[in-house]
Symmetry: C2
Subunit: 316 residues, 2 copies
């Protein structure tokens, strides 16, 4: 059942021992949601906990700590479009038992008893902030840090097209409420581990331009992980790099998996719809960010990808 | 004479044939100020023009076009802390003849007859927006694009510590008034020319860590400009890279000049004050961003810089 903000706030007020689930491989938005909501519920006298199938990456550790055992009476999922995204542990334990889902993905499967969905929100934290205000809770600096983190991480520091005037105004309010915006931005957008920096250099060295400079391809091999000391967990940011080159319409990042096949991330500039190109290889995604899997070895994988990109561009 | 917003607006209302001067090597903020103010003055029936000693870099061309000859009765400088920053042509023509200066640099020399200064403004465009509102002009999408450009370029897309709640709220208002925020952000923060991309790769290849990983040094040589096809005009963004490495307190970028000496850009994390380190080599700057000149060749220049960085860190 789809509900509005007031009904969601009522549900939280009417219940206690509230368990908040965030998605696996947690990011700034799901964690920001979880810990801000827990803090607000605690303020109105509720017992609340946050759980995740995976550990919190060190850079998000200031947001809060996960709870272990908790005797819950009410289960809320935040920023979780599909129970599968909870990760193995929590999916097994809670799929089918989630009463309230608060989310901003238009792809949300409406798997919960009650769903509060706002796909215009750049970050799920925007909705959580509305909920906290509806609960009548004053935003303190801890909540402000959580909400600000969700806002900035889901928008590439307010860079992407999902940003609305509301996003910017909420960020202003959070700064006023004590969010350490500059410090958070430095950690999220201006810090590279030494291993990531090495991997990025190898990745850039591998970049090649094709199709008259309209397509740039980065290839990351298992050897590069060994050479840099980096691994899969640090690699996501690289997907943004090939599209940055002037004239490139389709930026491709191919990551070799342990079995020798490739995970492909594709980014485009308008009007190229990479979800269509990825779909032609059995994948999917959004207009400007998609993905698929392609059989190795590297040169065969690149050929497959380039053939499909060329076919698409020729049709345009 | 230091004046307030209302007095500045009165001066603009009481005069006509208003020439707006922006600083040399123009950036998004000075150009955003210039073209937004011109548009607003035109709205209230004034004759206005924008001039600059240098050409507008192509990525800012959507903001407007410079005027050539103009028969001015009143001269305004925007985002210009010192008449020297006007660049040769306009400094020669207008130093000592500027009636109104609108600026956000605390280092402003108060060289104009009247100075409107707000050093809490992250961008001079914040002050221009206040002026436009005080003039009673409705912000249209052209002005919104100008003001938004100043806000985002002077804050690293709302990333830096100069951002205030006002900055974020003004950006929200500009998006509402029609600023093409996502498009502008892509051009400013997600686009690299091919030559810059090559230079960046060479620069990253040159990066070395010193002083137990607390200092990272990038060296850009004249040879690298030849090899990449890039030049001095594209190099500024590289100064941000060495400080991004985890554990680095002082990030140094040394750029070889044609005469073989080096221009040094230094960036730090708190609590390191690079203006002090740069001052010890005859330069200066702010706490977290400074610069100086050091004699070549490269290895001697690096030694000079590292010695001064080490001396400072040892004192801490």
């Amino acid at each position: 059942m789809i509900i509005d903000l007031n009904r969601a706030a009522e549900l939280l007020k009417d219940n206690d021992n509230i368990l908040i689930l965030v998605h696996g491989n947690p990011d700034g938005d799901t964690l920001g949601c979880g810990f801000a909501l827990k803090a607000a519920l605690t303020e109105i006298g509720k017992n609340a906990a946050v759980r995740c199938s995976d550990k919190i990456p060190p850079k998000y550790s200031y947001l809060g700590e996960l709870d272990e055992d908790f005797d819950e009476d009410f289960v809320v999922a935040v920023d979780v479009a599909d129970p599968k995204l909870l990760g193995k542990e929590l999916e097994t334990a809670y799929a089918g038992k989630i009463q309230l889902c608060i989310d901003h993905h238009s792809s949300n499967l409406k798997y919960a008893d009650y769903t509060l969905l706002d796909s215009n929100a750049a970050a799920a934290c925007e909705i959580i902030l509305e909920i906290i205000k509806t609960l009548g809770v004053q935003i303190n600096s801890k909540m402000a840090n959580c909400i600000y983190t969700g806002l900035c991480t889901d928008t590439g520091c307010f860079k992407y097209s999902n940003v609305t005037p509301r996003t910017m105004r909420m960020a202003a309010d959070m700064i006023e409420a004590g969010a350490e915006n500059a410090k958070i931005n430095t950690v999220m957008f201006d810090t590279k581990t030494r291993t990531y920096a090495k991997l990025e250099k190898l990745a850039l060295d591998s970049m090649k331009l094709y199709l008259d400079g309209r397509c740039a391809v980065i290839t990351i091999t298992q050897d590069m992980y060994s050479e840099s000391g980096s691994n899969e967990t640090e690699v996501d940011a690289i997907a943004a790099l090939p599209r940055q080159i002037e004239g490139v319409l389709v930026g491709v990042t191919m990551r070799e998996k342990e079995d020798g096949d490739f995970k492909v991330s594709m980014r485009s500039h308008e009007p190229v719809d990479v979800s269509e190109i990825c779909a032609s290889m059995g994948g999917g995604g959004h207009r400007c960010a998609g993905g698929c899997k392609v059989a190795g070895p590297a040169d065969k994988a690149a050929q497959t990808v380039l053939m499909n990109v060329e076919k698409y561009l020729d049709r345009q």
